[in-house]
Homo-oligomer: 334 residues x 2
């Protein structure tokens, strides 16, 4: 954020932790848990005696840039990526715990917009899921660590390791759209030195319809959670959230299952390379036995394990596989 | 860490996320969960259909300094503070999720020491609890976000709101020792400009026995979890982890319960002001009805709500109440 923005209004450094917390909780849907926020820990109901739990962190710099992401988008995205991981196990998200580490100069309006984004993601993607706890602290680097918890409601968890030769390989959701949005950001919203330029309503309006959609999906992904749960009910043999790129995530599924995933490039849209390498769509990679009634869009077949974990049109995939934070971060900021 | 340390050995920036993760998981006790680390989310068993969940973040600068805390201490502390919050509800910790955001220059030995500290805290404080998931990412600011999950095993959760007039007020664990340790750090381990000086075996050896103990408790607190669970079984009416200072935490308990907590300074040791203001001991503040068989050390009585949430010897407490990260951080680093 710019100096002008931070000096104009109240910052979190001028308020107590309790005041900031009340400002967040007032914008969120009320707790439905046996014990919600405000005690040492929350108590959540998981009727079948099993809880699904996952955590994911967004860090300013490698994971987002404030010039590009609105506070609302950040709240939405930090909830969505964790909700998708819960749904990928075949579980219904029931609660988020949100740890927010912010510079003291962070405007209070950031916190409000962020809370609104969290609330919108819960309402749109996982109705009934609420923020049931969290933590606020000071940091030089804006950092958002979200834990999502879910209930299997009697379902067996859908693991990565269940794919078998002969299964069909399906994708539920979008492929490569978020990656196209990232290309739009780096191509249209950076200056000659590579520094990010602000995404505003005006600059968005200059984009083509598909670029505008891609940008919006990159900044606030819409994982199709309800379909992932239907896939679990339909007997999916394996399922994963596609977060780091289809080829890389399929490699993980193939390795866990001891099989090879054979993609057919003709099913991967206009830009198969982008579909295979692009991450952050947070759709779902699912396998179904031949006699199941599958959901999603068929992209390939599970075959016995060969030399490669993943093939495209029968050949090893030699393109860029996906995103690894410790290899791929170029330390660009903004 | 110094430049010399970071250039001598492999850093996390030279490894993939998977390599770093394997280096951590290999040092931790094996998962006992239905689905442990390695899938989109973990699946944990909570036989009575309720799960207790809490999250707490440690940030380099406000929460710790690498000159003072060893990687082992940091792993131990980041687990212990979260385990204490679970136990304060009357629950047995079953799992940790650990999100670690590190600069690329972080030595791999840091990650190994940190994992050893996590493992030691689980083994010592909460046997059977394991690290069942996590996240690694890059950040300019070393940040540790831990979520702890627990099982009530049929117990009712012990909330802050259950204290009633006539109950006795007890503390289980140490009071003011961690705060004394913080005084030792600022008094003995800073240079003339206030910059932190390294805590080493040699510099520790120069301390008195009680200062050395206080220092070690500040850097790696030992919350008495087993006693907190026994307090829940003994019918504690309210319980809290004492993390931000006894007076501040008692104020929260008093407000939640609609009562006043009346402390007797004669029960608060040699330095009642330090006992009331000093945080980070992660002992437990507990109330018991008069007919219960209490645990811990009696420090006062619950009385009907008066003008003040907390009194000491019948008067309002006017000393420093405790720690608030958005008011108290002086931006010192190290």
């Amino acid at each position: 954020m710019t100096d002008a923005e931070t000096t104009r209004e109240t910052t979190v450094g001028e308020l107590s932790e309790g005041q900031i917390l009340r400002g967040i909780l007032d914008r969120l849907p009320p707790s439905t848990a046996p014990v919600g926020p405000g005690d040492d820990a929350a108590v959540l109901a998981v009727p079948d005696g099993r809880v699904v739990a996952t955590t994911d962190t967004l860090v300013h710099g490698p994971d987002f840039r404030l010039a590009w992401s609105s506070p609302f988008d950040l709240g939405f995205k930090s909830a969505a990526v964790n909700l998708a991981d819960v749904a990928a196990m075949g579980a219904r998200p029931i609660a988020l715990l949100v740890a927010l580490a912010m510079p003291e100069s962070t405007p209070v309006s950031f916190v409000r917009g962020f809370a609104d984004g969290l609330a919108a993601a819960c309402a749109e993607l996982a109705p009934g899921c609420a923020v049931e706890g969290g933590d606020l602290t000071v940091s030089d680097t804006l950092t958002i660590a979200v834990t999502a918890l879910g209930s299997l409601d009697g379902r067996e968890p859908v693991r990565r390791s269940g794919a078998r030769a002969g299964d069909g390989v399906y994708v539920i959701g979008e492929l490569g759209l978020a990656a196209r949005g990232l290309e739009v950001l780096f191509g249209r919203f950076t200056d000659a030195q590579g520094a990010p330029l602000p995404v505003t309503d005006d600059t968005r309006a200059a984009l083509s319809a598909v670029d505008a959609l891609a940008l919006s999906r990159q900044l606030a992904p819409r994982p199709p959670l309800a379909e992932a749960l239907r896939a679990a009910d339909a007997g999916a043999t394996a399922m994963m959230d596609v977060s780091d790129g289809l080829a890389l995530d399929a490699t993980r599924l193939a390795d866990a299952s001891g099989v090879t995933v054979a993609f057919d490039s003709a099913t991967l849209g206009e830009n198969p390379a982008l579909a295979l390498a692009g991450g952050e769509d947070h759709g779902f990679l699912v396998t179904f036995a031949p006699d199941a009634e599958p959901l999603g869009h068929r992209v390939g077949t599970v075959v016995p394990r060969g030399a490669d974990a993943v093939t495209v049109d029968g050949r090893a995939w030699t393109g860029r596989a996906g995103w690894d934070p410790y290899r791929d971060w170029d330390a660009g900021r903004g």
